[in-house]
């Protein structure tokens, strides 16, 4: 064991953040009296260079062998101070932080009470630090490959960045083509670039990049292991089309018995495709897929005398015998870029989305306006002889956003601008149309947003402040019931069509990803980042990063920026080639272990195995921890009846003194 504890206590004022509420001088006087404390100092910013220097000097000069810092949360600066210890030649795990800011000065007002509480927290930290033991940080190699889940613009960008840096990338996309939501958009705000024009070159780059293995129409089945060494299993779903033989000529789709009879997901169900299909013309990979939900041969086992697609394919690529394929590989790091779903407008029945065909969502409007969409870019309503050009067009914003009744309290961030963009495009196509936008607020915060909003208004689009309460049909027209909240007048607005500015929601299958990667969700149900400001692309699971709307609603530039951020974080791991593993892991005292195997049963990482050992000539079984697999949760330690399993830095012998300090009346 180590020598007698000589403790240094360092109390941070954090400017006034702590010192205003906690009497730091009194706390310092108190600290000196605690057992084994050699020196106690207070300073305005302990985390600053002079603050750290003070600690390092004391360690060197006074021979301190334990350090307690009373400051902000250990989640903020534990690493900072560990480094300071290390630089002074002391094992970095001889450190304990008393959180007197987040847990004390910021949540209490009474100085006396806060000071008393700070004393207790400090006393507990001193009690624990006396029993801490030095730990060694070990390193493991990082597999030089990244897994990227989701082939939207975020996943594409991250893949390209990592691949361009020279590392292997596995890009897994659930649907048959990459491109994601961005590929469905017509123009992008506020610059009005053609979405496809800027996206498709990147999609092609992905397909042709030598470092990228594109696994489209695939899903991640399982992920095990740990940072640097994830074992990934991906299910490549059967396309029933030989990937290598298919040339993408499209004859199969033309000949399919169900040609133009299956709703196109890409066009939001507003046009039809065949049972064998390419989701959209620029799809990557440009390979056809047989839709197992609609294909007659796959659903009924019979398609005429023989499937027409197979007959038509000159390359003989149609293969109904194809099976799902499991692909396994190792990855050192993972980026989650699974994107979003749009709000289901049917959940706001008062807007009649399910009842009236002329009530559309923003994404449907994108497809109608797009030259590659169901109408070839013509904005018309009705069909055949009844076709007409709408003149009165209304947009409603915040549908499924900022709305407690739907459970979505957040702002979806893109709706203000995509509606302004759509309004502009409508005016562009039908200059005489009367376009109005019902809104709660206009949030035009981004680069060029306010200017664009201004431009749209100048083009004659009217903004009416009010949240419509109902839409109903009268004489073949849609009537919007709304109160103009600026004039406080109720309106009944008769229009030809309504476009709902639906918001963004987490993917409905987000749970599966959470289970796969042990991620957390924030209150809005999007994936939770490790820190909202300082670690916005990291997650609680080491080596796993977030990009794009999976983490929260954002527009294309923000998505791309975050993807680049996630790629850069992943590259830090990949290019260093090594990663430190947890030091605060479990450990088994084999002398007292009774071999019951509870810990091994408990461990969620299968990090504990039961091994035979020889005790005084008898074969007995004891538990042993695999240090690379242990994540340091300590569940085994709490489950061990004999106390033989302990978690380093959270040992019974370290926690019980903390309890004693906190339980005592100070």
């Amino acid at each position: 064991m180590s020598s007698k504890p000589k403790i240094g206590v360092y109390i941070c004022h954090c400017g006034v953040n702590i010192a205003k509420t906690v009497d730091v001088e009194e706390l310092t006087r108190y600290a000196v009296r605690l057992p084994n404390v050699r020196v106690a100092r207070d300073y305005s910013y302990m985390c600053s260079d002079p603050g750290q220097l003070m600690i390092r000097e004391d360690i060197r000069k006074s021979g301190l062998n334990r350090v307690v810092v009373a400051s902000c949360s250990p989640r903020m600066h534990e690493l900072t101070f560990r480094k300071a210890l290390l630089e002074a030649g002391l094992n970095p795990y001889y450190l304990e932080i008393a959180n007197i800011r987040e847990h004390c000065s910021w949540v209490h007002k009474d100085k006396q009470e806060a000071t008393a509480k700070a004393k207790k927290l400090l006393q507990a930290a001193v009690a624990k630090v006396r029993f801490l033991e030095p730990l060694q940080e070990k390193e493991v190699d990082v597999e030089a490959a990244a897994l990227i889940i989701g082939g939207g613009i975020a996943g594409i960008q991250a893949s390209l960045d990592i691949a361009n840096a020279g590392f292997k990338v596995y890009l897994v996309e659930k649907t048959s083509s990459i491109g994601g939501r961005m590929s469905q958009l017509d123009k992008t705000f506020p610059t009005l670039d053609c979405s496809a024009c800027i996206l498709t070159p990147k999609m092609v780059d992905v397909a042709s990049h030598p470092n990228i293995t594109l696994l489209a129409y695939s899903q991640v089945e399982s992920i095990s292991g740990y940072v640097g060494n994830f074992q990934v299993k991906v299910r490549k779903k059967a396309r029933y089309v030989d990937f290598n033989k298919c040339t993408g000529c499209g004859l199969c789709a033309e000949e399919c018995r169900l040609a133009n009879r299956v709703k196109s997901e890409f066009n939001m169900g507003m046009s039809n495709r065949s049972a064998v299909y390419l989701p959209f013309p620029q799809a990557v990979p440009a390979k056809y897929t047989v839709d197992p939900q609609s294909c007659l041969y796959l659903t009924k086992g019979k398609c005429g005398k023989s499937p027409k697609c197979a007959d038509a394919c000159p390359a003989g690529a149609i293969d109904f015998e194809q099976k799902d394929e499991l692909v396994e590989f190792k990855a050192g790091t993972i980026i989650v870029a699974t994107g979003f779903d749009v709000f289901d407008a049917a959940r706001k029945p008062e807007y009649g989305y399910s009842d009236y065909e002329n009530v559309l969502t923003g994404l449907e409007m994108e497809r109608i306006i797009s030259a590659s969409g169901p109408t070839g870019g013509k904005l018309v309503l009705g069909k055949g002889d009844g076709e007409y050009v709408p003149k009165e067009i209304a947009f409603i914003k915040c549908v499924g956003s900022r709305d407690k009744s739907t459970g979505n309290e957040y702002c979806s961030r893109v709706c203000c601008m995509y509606i302004a963009k759509l309004a502009h495009l409508v005016k562009d196509k039908i200059p005489e149309a009367n376009v109005r936008i019902y809104y709660m607020d206009v949030r035009a915060f981004g680069k060029g947003f306010e200017e664009f909003y201004d431009r749209v208004r100048r083009e004659g689009v009217r903004y009416i402040r009010g949240n419509p309460s109902e839409i109903y049909r009268r004489n073949g027209k849609l009537v919007i019931m709304v109160e103009d909240t600026l004039t406080a007048k109720p309106l009944e607005d008769e229009v030809d069509m309504v476009v709902l500015g639906v918001g963004l929601e987490p993917r409905r299958d987000a749970r599966e990803v959470i289970d796969l990667l042990r991620l957390s969700q924030s209150a809005d149900r999007f994936f939770l980042e490790a820190h909202p400001k300082l670690a916005p692309v990291d997650t609680a699971t080491e080596g796993v990063f977030l990009a794009g709307c999976a983490q929260g609603p954002k527009d294309i530039p923000d998505t791309v920026a975050q993807a680049k951020g996630a790629a850069s974080s992943a590259l830090v791991l990949l290019s260093s080639g090594k990663v430190k593993v947890q030091a605060q892991i479990s450990w088994v005292n084999e002398a007292t272990c009774r071999g019951c195997g509870y810990c091994a049963e408990i461990c969620p990482y299968t990090a504990i195995e039961m091994v035979p050992v020889n005790k005084m000539g008898h074969q007995v079984t004891v538990a042993r921890v695999n240090e690379a697999l242990c994540k340091g949760c300590g569940a085994c330690a709490a489950g061990c009846l004999s106390g033989s399993v302990q978690q380093k830095s959270f040992m019974d012998s370290q926690i019980l003194p903390q309890i004693a300090a906190l339980g005592g009346k100070s």
Binding site: T592, Y598, G639
Partner: protein, 327 residues
């Protein structure tokens, strides 16, 4: 009725086998109603073997209590099987020991003894005090027959059997390589009448009850040592660094000791009632265990010591475990 001659013949045959180290059974005690664990190593020992309503000890304890002396260099440890006689409750201890890898299936030879209820010595001595002569007992037609010095006496089973037998659901061994005697009918109540009366009292009354009991605990550790599930090489409650429980004997440490003991048996207690039987100051320790048995059964539909392949209760969970108590 059990034929002792047959039992002894079986014992002789068993210990004569090459793969059996010794047999653990019961013999008549030194006085009165006592019996004692009996280690049968030879044919002569087998003659003293008995099985009767007086055979209270749960012998499974000795499977894990057996001390492993250092094996001299060059020698091989004796890995022959230990034959053990078990009642229903005792057999559950064997199963639970298998679950917890305290013993290996191939290292024990289980002789099952269906049991109609074991006499609570304290209850009997109240009815028949001052008995020095050795007394034999047997089950007969739902009664317990005693050959007392004053003559034969028959007692209704429920009057003199231990509390644990009144709620016993497993009178027949759940694991056995060979069984002596016929299976018996399950007569124990599935309810928790034994603790319900205490549960319905208010918190102050319950504490008053327990304070009085726990206050008299002398920390002799017989409850722990007799328990077939307590076989850690070093009990966590004996540790001095860190000291979970201090050595001083007072209400605080005694309560903590008994709570720890009971909690460590959560989902593991097989209700043999030995802790309560051996307690020299008569603390109703089974109540603590039974409370947890009740919760384990009601909340998690779990019964330990039945299935050797079962996953230990507290080493697992179900996502939909009850959590009404969580804020």
């Amino acid at each position: 009725m059990l034929d002792l001659d047959k039992l002894r013949a079986l014992a002789k045959e068993t210990i004569s086998r090459d793969d059996i180290k010794y047999l653990i059974g019961w013999r008549q005690g030194t006085y009165g109603f006592r019996t004692s664990p009996h280690f049968v190593g030879n044919l002569e020992d087998a003659e003293q073997l008995i099985f009767s309503p007086l055979c209270s000890s749960n012998l499974a304890t000795y499977l894990t209590l057996a001390e492993k002396r250092p094996v001299p260099r060059g020698a091989q440890p004796d890995t022959r099987r230990v034959a053990i006689m078990v009642k229903g409750c005792d057999s559950r201890a064997v199963v639970q020991q298998l679950v917890e890898q305290g013993i290996k299936r191939e290292s024990v030879y289980v002789i099952g003894c269906p049991c109609e209820g074991i006499i609570d010595r304290r209850k009997l001595e109240e009815k028949v005090p001052h008995t020095l002569e050795r007394v034999e007992a047997r089950w007969e037609n739902g009664k317990i027959i005693l050959d007392l010095p004053a003559g034969r006496a028959a007692f209704p089973r429920d009057e003199i059997v231990a509390g644990k037998c009144l709620t016993c659901r497993y009178p027949n061994p759940v694991i056995a390589d060979v069984t002596v005697g016929e299976d018996v009918e399950v007569r124990g109540s599935a309810g928790f009448e034994d603790i319900n009366w205490l549960e319905v009292k208010n918190a102050q009354e319950r504490w008053a009850f327990w304070r009085d009991k726990v206050n008299s605990c002398i920390r002799c550790y017989s409850c722990r040592n007799v328990c077939p599930m307590c076989y850690c090489a070093e009990c966590i409650l004996d540790k001095l660094n860190p000291a979970w429980i201090q050595r001083s004997v007072n209400v605080s440490e005694n309560t903590a000791f008994q709570l720890a003991r009971a909690f460590h048996l959560a989902g593991r207690c097989i209700e043999c009632g030995e802790c309560e039987r051996v307690c020299p100051v008569e603390i109703p320790l089974s109540h603590l265990n039974r409370k947890l048995v009740k919760e384990v059964s009601e909340q998690f539909a779990f019964t330990p010591g039945i299935d050797p392949e079962a996953k230990p209760l507290l080493a697992g969970y179900r996502p939909n475990d009850r959590e009404a108590f969580i804020l």
